[in-house]
């Protein structure tokens, strides 16, 4: 005791691989990679216990650049592969890197089912509102009437709101951050890491080749404070350059934007409660960005961690049956039921 040397703490460098990163110069994915590589060493988890799983798409190259266990699977299926991994090894720290097409289009089914089961997997959804790797078709998060290679006269689809979808799927942790807000992104990732159940993080990410500026109204320095509202648990919902606007409950249960002053103070505003066991308030928040005059919230919408994880329930059920029946006896199992002896 006392003389044993602890292994040196992990650093960002420990999570970088020798593989050349092959995203386009200027891609938002670099910033996300950097944030994840910065956050992982701070989690106090051994490197061999990290598994990064991905599907197909630009974002899904992520595992190759993380010096952890990594599995680049097939289009849309990462949540299902991750579920299998967690079932066998609940102690592993499994993160899924995915995109708007991978998670919400071809893999939509797996995303919603993994979330409803509350498998202890962290999902990072890189949302650039476009198909990048196939060179520029509209995605399930592209805005209506989007003109792309496959929709020269405009797309006819109405988009998904990933946050609403995750909340609707009963996800227990739902957050949003932005590639270029490095500090906020790292904080959000740490919140996600601390969550035991399924954690879903939408990261607004710029594709500077096929959809440049998709998020400029939120990321450009002048627009940022007017259009973005940071969610902080226990704090009132305020936004605006001078923190002079806020969100207030109406008598019918809906919300409205109010200008602070003239008798309206922060005490009139909605106080953010990310830990509420029911998802309706978080859903209301997720939809405000579609309404004129409302800001786009970023931060943790919902972090309710009282639901047991799927993998824990699964192994507990096995333990319970063994406690009741005793460990299985193969000889007995093969001889079960009606048997007869031939002499």
């Amino acid at each position: 005791m006392g003389t044993a040397t602890l292994p040196p703490p992990l650093t960002k460098k420990d999570f970088q691989t020798d593989q050349e990163v092959r995203w386009c110069p200027g891609c938002g994915d670099y910033a996300i990679l950097s944030a994840v590589q910065s956050v992982f060493p701070e989690l106090g988890i051994k490197r061999e216990n990290f598994v990064v799983v991905s599907g197909i798409g630009c974002s899904s190259r992520f595992p190759y650049y993380m010096n952890t266990f990594g599995f680049h699977t097939i289009h849309g299926r990462a949540p299902a592969v991750a579920t299998g991994i967690k079932a066998i090894r609940p102690e592993l720290e499994v993160w899924v890197a995915t995109g708007d097409g991978d998670a919400l289009s071809i893999g939509g089914n797996h995303t919603i089912h993994m979330l409803r089961r509350n498998v202890g997997v962290k999902v990072l959804l890189f949302n650039n509102k476009i198909y990048g790797l196939t060179k520029g078709q509209y995605s399930p998060t592209s805005e209506f009437n989007k003109k792309t290679k496959s929709t020269p006269f405009g797309s006819l689809d109405r988009p998904f709101n990933p946050i609403s979808l995750a909340i609707g799927s009963e996800a227990t942790f739902v957050a949003r951050s932005v590639d270029v807000f490095q500090g906020h992104l790292k904080e959000t990732l740490k919140h996600a890491a601390a969550h035991k159940g399924s954690a879903f993080v939408e990261i607004l990410q710029n594709c500077n080749i096929f959809n440049d500026g998709a998020w400029f109204s939120l990321t450009e320095r002048d627009a940022r404070s007017e259009h973005v509202m940071q969610l902080e648990h226990g704090k009132p919902l305020v936004f605006g350059k001078n923190k002079d606007k806020g969100i207030r409950r109406k008598s019918d249960g809906d919300i409205e934007v109010v200008q602070l002053g003239n008798g309206i103070t922060e005490s009139d505003l909605v106080v953010h409660d990310a830990h509420h066991p029911r998802p309706s308030y978080a859903f209301l928040l997720s939809h405000m960005e579609h309404r004129p005059g409302f800001p786009t919230p970023i931060g943790v919408f919902r972090a309710w961690d009282d639901l047991p994880r799927y993998e824990d329930v699964m192994s507990q059920q096995i333990k319970d049956v063994i406690a009741k029946r005793g460990p299985g006896d193969l000889g007995k199992l093969l001889r079960a039921g009606d048997t007869w002896e031939v002499k």
Binding site: I56, F69, G70, A87, R325, G326, W340
Partner: protein, 619 residues
Amino acid sequence: MSTLIEVPPVKHKREVLDQAVIRFAGDSGDGMQITGSQFTNTAALYGNDIATFPDYPAEIRAPAGTIPGVSGFQLHFSSNEVYTPGDAIDVLIAMNPAALKVNIADLKANGILIVNSDSFKEGDLRKAQMTSNPLEDHSLDKFRLFSVELERLTRRSLEHLGLDAKSMDRCKNFFALGMCYWLYNRSMDPTVRWIEEKFKNKPLLVEANKLTLKGGYSYCEATEAFQVSYEIPPAQLTPGLYRSMSGNQALALGFVTASQKSGLPLFQGSYPITPASDILHELSQYKDFGVMTFQAEDEIAAITSAIGAAYAGALAITTTSGPGMALKTEALGLAVAVEIPLVICDIQRGGPSTGLPTKTEQADLLQALFGRNSEAPIPVLAASTPADCFWVAIEACRIAVKYMVPVIILSDGYLANGAEPWRIPELSDIPEIPVKFATDPVTFLPYKRNPQTLARPWAVPGTPGLEHRIGGLEKQDPTGNINYEPLNHENMVRVRAAKVAAVAQDIPNVLPDGDREGDLLIVAWGSTCGSITAALKAQRAKGRRIGHLHLRHLNPLPSNLGDVLKRYKRVLVPELNMGQLLWVLRAKYLVDAVGLNKIQGRPFKQAELEQKIEEMLGL
């Protein structure tokens, strides 16, 4: 064991036979599958050899009394070895006109026909699209017809219990079962035990079902309805402890055994599909063996979750039927590329598309062999009898783990639901399945291969120093890094193929049954084994020089197969498809083999095979 129901002494004539085929047929709500299973169990416990053929509709409850709603269960039981459920039937129990209409053609002349005469009213006949009452129009004269008022008699047996009419009518199948037990001099004890267990929380139903069963037995006794009853002595099977075993049950037990023998936790990812769901039902009961069953959101998640589990160090399986196989195709390619152990069961059914969900077919062979994009070879095994599924499951797991490959098992609806006696093996006779996980960071490379098996290391997450990346993109040999170089790709494609081909070193040389050389070799695979064995036996008894080779390994094929094919003048390949193994054999061995092909959702009859054999022998 004491007899629970008093059986009066026998007064009638008793005849000894060596075999019988009996078919219970009725509406899908009439409990024919339970009735048939009960008779099967009783016959098996008595020591007969058995083969069964449950045949039920895809609809859970088609309109009552109609032709599509007919459900049947056929049993062949014998004092000799049994290979098939039987071509023609000796006893038909028809619970309604539709069941009579669908099944009467298979009843032998002078066969026993028991009908529920209460269900031959005008409306019942109309539902079966019959214009006259066959019980009255002499159309059944060539059979020994026993019209029994099953409903009235059942109700009379139960009238004192205070049950409603519907509940009483639900018991009537056991009245028929009781009659059959009398007819074949069988003890009612096993069924009585089953009733007591099944309805243990419903004493009234225990009483009602026991009374009805006994009522059927006593009815025969009292009325002397049949002048004769039959005795079919036990079969001379290999000594040992036996139980009745269906194909799906055998697969499940095989996987649990493989899990125990390998020391790996068993993970099953599955999505319910007929006729494979029973494997999931079965395995989900074995939590005390640490079995993890995951009912996934779809077929794709079923296999990809299993891939994740295998990656994390489990013995992972996924179970499905043809349409599910189609959905799993892309993931199968991933398993080939990342070279992880995985077992995929395809319980084949009639197709294409949804096809004939509850009927049997062997038409997924080429899908199993080739149904993936690009060069993606996978070892393929096929079970030949219900109990053989147990051994095939273990063999598939052994290959998967040893060679780090996905392995496909082909079974089918006939094997899945059919049952036969299974001699329970000694655990010590089943070899261990050795497993080695990579642990040494100094020598580790993700695609560094075992020189003998070409298997790459199984390096599970959580192992210090082995952090590495794998995926569906082409990998550099042996680092596993992404690599698009032309020669590396060609090398990797060839290595993956060589690895699957190397499985042949574990396949013993095949030896045909019957003649080892001669005029005709029958080559086949899967559930046709029983009918072919029966046909072969009958034909060889007539002095014909025929061999039968039943292939368990369909990819790779046994090394000596080409030599065996040359020892016969002609080769016949009977299949329940359009000629898929035939195609493979002709392509691979340039042999002028001939097919016998049946695509009716039903197994071969022995007679159909014998006819083709004689035709090929020029007889």
